[in-house]
Every structure is written in structure tokens, then in C-alpha cells.
Symmetry: C2
Subunit: 399 residues, 2 copies
């Protein structure tokens, strides 16, 4: 007998039979997000290349491509392998890499997919070119231009042109355009300020284009943008390709941004959790803790009950490894403080000492989308369809 | 051809050939920690049952048991399956659970291992007992007593005795003792205050023992304790079994505690990372970011160079998904601020624009041990032995 934990759910199971903690996808919201972004990019006349680091799921990549995406981005070479193995034919590694092992991986991938990569140092080009030539593969190389983030990317035209020359000197490499991504601009809350940050980035990318033009270099692709700036980037006249990732799931941070020029994508990914202990008045302990939820952008929010909805709402107040500590919120509404922290609260959904514990499930918004997805993101049943609950969860993921 | 990423290293590889980002174990420190804790528990006359949530590795569990541990703790039932499948014969689930799926998992596990579980509600006992009886298995059940953490566990003797009665009413269940764990006490920095917190917890456990004695209930096991309080718990005269987990690897938080009554376990787990971009004066970007390192207890610390050690040290200042942003520290010593944040700094280990990038590796202390181990903790080569570098890394893990 093989001793493995049972699947967290099977297609057809009712929602409250899902083993917890689990990631749960609201398929309606997810499919709406995939469709909306594809239509938005098509209407703007730009290529959509969603970032796969948000999901790390070839099933989701295939759905994005079926909706119109050209391919996917990966943030590192090892991340690209499962997509290549699953038949995703066009992959852009939107990051720098260095070292013989990484060069060998790029060359191996390029034998299977149309591969493009980013560089910001001539040494990378000079390592990659001969290795690609020896293997008989062709790789598109995109210098990354720092357009304001201050992280990776060349910082002046001289460096950019030196990279273009270095690429041109390698017969197995092809200048594929530039990458101009500004991560910080994605998360600026105010719409007008986010637009300004995006326009500044696009302006810097445009300056790089002029420098290339002045040297007679044609730049087919300007790739960049993310969920937060995609509406501005698409209309910038500079970007030809957009890399949003988080839009498929959304998260607490992106959800809190001010949206205006396009419809806000819907939250589609939740963590289902069970209250497994409730011995203290005003408190409950659920089974989604530090190992199930990322807390780098704050604790999980907006708890929704799938059962006992009439009872007092809970706030998630502390994450331990496999425990989420929750406190009953005041009945005064969303603005009420968590009375449970200070002691007994009014209404209590679970009775301590001997009363039957009910299997209460909690759906909480992730603190950060992709960080969580990275921890336990393998989709096990996108086709699981269950109805009759709110929110309508129709698919489920679990590590 | 199977398209999978290459192994990050092979036994015999030099240290600087390890693919990054990777967890790297200093086997000497790890083995010293395993040995020291086993000897400490034996000398104190208490059972050692290390917590496996710190490593989730059956290879490590086997080494702990070979050194003298009785078995392991798991924090949830699904976590216990791989250990049971690997032949770990004695597993304690040190947490509550509820629901038909979880009950079925406990019953299945109990058919393969000697299983003990925690409860703090009669409903759990009444669900588990009949299921165990139907399957013909025996499960040891330990009521959890809240000894100060305010999380799970019964809060008075009445509740405890009610659980003991409920267990006694189930022929397939056996009262196995009590669990008395105080998570918060583990991380109190000052030695005297930590001792006080541990003594308070032990005192509460002792009060529960007296309540059981008064009812004529024999309590074989008092299990609890962690890396931070193990020295006090072992000498408390109350605990019979200790559950430390993090001692095998240590982490920045545990490492910062004041140690006195026993030797501080050594840091044995590191993240190896590569600088993959350096286009800004005073800055460098490495490949260990949010998806490679937990930041819930702070950013990675104590960066040690494996190459170019004579050059300026770097501080890790920001974690993005797959980027770690680092700034050159002032030459004025450890107290110096990161001059790189403000602009150009004196010495710079990597030259931007065209100079050959060297494959510089960074070993950084994890912010939190088990959270990281959870993200990418499968040991792929405990026997990998490489010499001649500092720290002497002799084994390697990677997701």
C-alpha cells in the first residue's frame, strides 16, 4: 500500500469537503481576469506575455495562451523547464543570470522553445554566445534597461550600445529588443501617481529607443509592465509587449490600488482554512499559518465564512508555523477593533469545552499573490466545480 | 529526452559549483547539533522527540533517531505521511485537527506507526475514537494544556478531566499524557527571562499533573519544549519529553538569543546565492529573493563571501520575488551604515559595464529556519562533501 496523504478534494466534491489548508481558485473570477487582460492587450495592439512566476502552472499558462498570449515570462531558468516540458513554446526569461550551469540551462531550453533572455553585462553575452553556437541553437537576447527601479539593467546608452555590439558579435545570438520593467511603479496606490511613475519609465525606455535608432539599430520589442501599470504601458506607444502576472489571482496589495483606466481584476485565489481549536473566549485558531500564507505584505485579510456566516467575523491577528490566530471582531462593523485580543467578546462562533466543534471554513485573501503561489501552487483540480456557496469556488490548488 | 533542470550539485562537486539559490548545510555543524541535543536529553533523563516541521526530511529524522531520539513530532497529519512511508515508526502530531478527512488520515497513519495526537475538544475525541475502533487501530491521545501561549489547549482542569474521561470512554484510544508547549517562551532573548517563562509554563503543567493525580489518573508523558527553552524544560522535573526542532539548523532569531545553560547550537543551514547583476555603484543583486528566503523575522543577515572575501561586505537590504538587493557596507566596520544606499561607495566587488562578472557566491543566514526549509527543503545530497572553503559546506539541499 502506498502511504500518501489523500487528495484534498475530487471533482464534484462539495466546497466544504476540501482538505485544508488549500489554495482555492474562484474559476469565474480567474477566467474573467484571463479574458479581460487578453482583450485589453489586443485592443491596445500590444503583445501579452504573462508572467508565469505568479502561478508556476502550465495549465494556467496554456489557458493564457489560448486566450491570446504569445507565451510566458519566467523569472529564472529552472522555472522555465516545466513550462518547456509541457509544450509552452515561447518563453522569455525576464532576468539576468550568470555561471556555466545557468548558461547550459539556457542552451538546453533553447533547443526546445523559442527562448529570449535578459542581459545587463557583456560577460553574460560572451558566455552565452559561444555555448549557443556550440549547441547549434539561437537565442534572442534583450538588454535590460533600468527605467527607474534601480535594480538590474544598464543605466546609460553607452552600456546599452556596448551590449548590442556584443550580441551582434555572436552569430548564435540575436538582438531581440529591450526589457524596460519598473517593479516599484506597480504598487503605487494612487492612480495618478502610478500613471506618472509608469510614464517616467516609458519615457526612459523611449530614450533608449532613440539611442538605438541613432545607431541604426532596429528594436522590435520593448517588453515590461506589470499588473499595476499595464493600462498605462499598453497606451504608452513605447511598449510592444506586456508582462503582467498577478492579474490572474490578484492579491491584497494589488486589490488595494486605485484603479481607473481599466476594470480592476477580481480576486480569484483564496486560502481555505479550518478552525481547529477554540478554547479561549474571543479567539479561534485556524490551520493556515506561516507555512501556508505569505506575510511579507501583511497578514491575510477579508475573512469570509463559508459556514456560520451569521456569526461574528474574525480577524487574523498572528501567523505561527501551522497556526493562524484569529480574534473575534466587534459587532460595530468593519471599523471595529478586534475585541478578542483584549478578552471575551460578544458572539462566538465556536464553543469551547465540550460543545461540538463545527467544521467552519475560512476563506482569506492572500497577503501576496505569487509568494503564496510559490509555496503551494500546484493546481490539482482546475475542473473541480462546486456550486451553491459564496464565493463560488470552482477550482482548487494545493501543493 | 526528459526536460528537467539539472541537479544543483553532485557529490564531489566543489562548493562554487552549487547551483543557486540553494540551501546548503554545514554537515559538521549539523551533526554536532544532532549529537549535542541527544546527549543533553539523555543526561537529563528525558526523551527527545525532535520536531520534524523544522526539516521535513526523513533522512534527517533517521539521523536524529539514530542519535537517540524516540521518534518525531509533526505539526499536521499530511506532514506525517512521508515520515511514516520512510519507516519512521513513532510519530506525535503535536497539534489539533478536526474533520472527517483528518480523522481518516490519523486512522490510516495509526495502521503504520505508533501514533499519538493532540486534542483540546471532546468533539475531536468522539470523532476519532469510533473511527479508530472501526479500523482496528490504537491511537494515543494527549490533551493539550495551555501553559501560557494563549493559543490552543484547555485552560482549566475541568476541561482537561473531561477530555480524559472522553478518551477513557473510547476503547480504541489511550490517554497518552499531556502536551504543554509554550511557543512564545522559545524566543525570549534574555536568558533569565526565558528561564522564567519556561518555569511558569512548567509550573502550569505541574498543576495539571496534580489535578490528574487527584483523580487517580497516571500521566506517563508530559511533552513540550522547543529549542529556546529545552535547557530549562529538561531540568524542570515536569517534562518527560522534549520537542525541539530548530536546533539542527538554527536561524537568525534563535542565534540572537542569550544562551547560557547549554552550548548554543551552531548555525548549519545557509542559502547560497549568486550575484547576477551589478550595474549600479554601491549595489549588487543576488538571486535569493522572496521566493528563496523567508523575511517574516527580518532580512537575511551575516553575509559571508565564498569568493573575493577581501572585498567590501554587502548588506541585504531588500527582497523581491527572485532578486535580493544588496548594498556595499562602509569600510568602517560592522557598525557602518550601508553607504551603497545613498550612492557610490568606496570598494566594489563587481565592476559594472563590461568588466567580467565573477561568480561570487554569498552565504546568508536565514531569517527563520523552518519557514525557509519549508519552501525548498528537500535534501538532495547529504553526503556531498566539499573541502577547502569557509564555512565548510558538506551537504546541500534544494527544492
Amino acid at each position: 500500500m502506498k502511504l500518501v496523504p489523500p487528495a484534498p478534494a475530487r471533482p464534484g466534491d462539495p466546497l466544504d469537503a476540501i482538505g485544508t489548508p488549500s489554495l482555492v481558485i474562484d474559476l469565474d473570477a480567474f477566467e474573467s481576469n484571463v479574458r479581460q487582460m487578453a482583450e485589453f492587450a489586443a485592443a491596445a495592439g500590444v503583445t501579452l506575455r504573462p508572467h508565469a512566476k505568479a502561478h508556476k502552472s502550465s495549465e494556467i499558462a496554456k489557458r493564457q495562451i489560448a486566450a491570446g498570449a504569445k507565451g510566458v515570462c519566467c523569472q529564472k531558468l529552472s522555472e522555465a523547464y516545466p513550462f518547456a516540458a509541457a509544450g509552452i513554446a515561447n518563453i522569455h526569461v525576464s532576468n539576468e543570470f550568470i555561471g556555466a550551469d545557468k548558461t547550459a540551462m539556457a542552451v538546453e531550453l533553447a533547443a526546445h522553445v523559442r527562448l529570449s533572455v535578459c542581459v545587463d553585462a557583456v560577460a553574460q553575452v560572451e558566455a552565452l554566445g559561444p555555448a549557443a553556437a556550440r549547441a547549434g541553437v539561437r537565442i534572442d537576447v534583450l538588454p535590460e534597461v533600468d527605467v527607474g527601479q534601480g535594480r538590474c539593467g544598464v543605466t546609460d546608452d553607452t552600456q546599452l550600445l556596448r551590449l548590442v555590439d556584443a550580441i551582434a558579435a555572436q552569430p548564435a545570438l540575436r538582438f531581440g529588443g529591450i526589457q524596460a520593467y519598473h517593479g516599484g511603479a506597480q504598487h503605487v496606490a494612487a492612480h495618478a501617481e502610478r500613471r506618472q511613475a509608469a510614464q517616467l519609465a516609458a519615457g526612459r525606455a523611449a530614450a533608449s529607443l532613440r539611442a538605438l535608432e541613432a545607431r541604426g539599430v532596429r528594436c522590435e520589442v520593448v517588453t515590461g509592465g506589470g499588473t499595476g501599470t499595464v493600462e498605462f504601458d499598453a497606451r504608452s506607444g513605447v511598449y510592444t509587449e506586456l508582462q503582467p502576472g498577478s492579474y490572474i489571482f490578484m492579491d491584497g496589495d494589488y486589490g488595494s490600488l486605485e484603479w481607473s483606466g481599466m476594470r480592476r481584476p477580481r480576486q480569484s485565489l483564496y486560502i481555505a482554512s479550518t478552525i481547529m481549536s477554540a478554547t479561549h473566549p474571543g479567539r479561534a485558531v485556524c490551520d493556515a499559518g506561516l507555512k501556508g500564507v505569505a506575510v511579507d505584505s501583511g497578514l491575510p485579510k477579508r475573512v469570509a465564512w463559508l459556514a456560520d456566516r451569521a456569526e461574528a467575523p474574525l480577524d487574523y491577528i498572528a501567523a505561527n508555523d501551522e497556526h493562524g490566530v484569529m480574534a473575534v471582531r466587534d459587532r460595530e462593523g468593519d471599523g471595529g477593533r478586534a475585541a478578542g485580543r483584549a478578552g471575551p467578546a460578544g458572539s462566538w462562533p465556536l464553543r469551547p469545552d465540550g460543545q461540538p466543534l463545527r467544521r467552519v471554513r475560512v476563506l482569506s485573501r492572500r497577503a501576496r499573490g505569487d509568494a503564496v503561489a510559490d509555496r503551494r501552487a500546484r493546481i490539482v483540480a482546475l475542473s473541480l466545480r462546486v456550486r451553491g456557496s459564496t464565493p463560488a469556488c470552482t477550482a482548487l490548488t494545493r501543493k
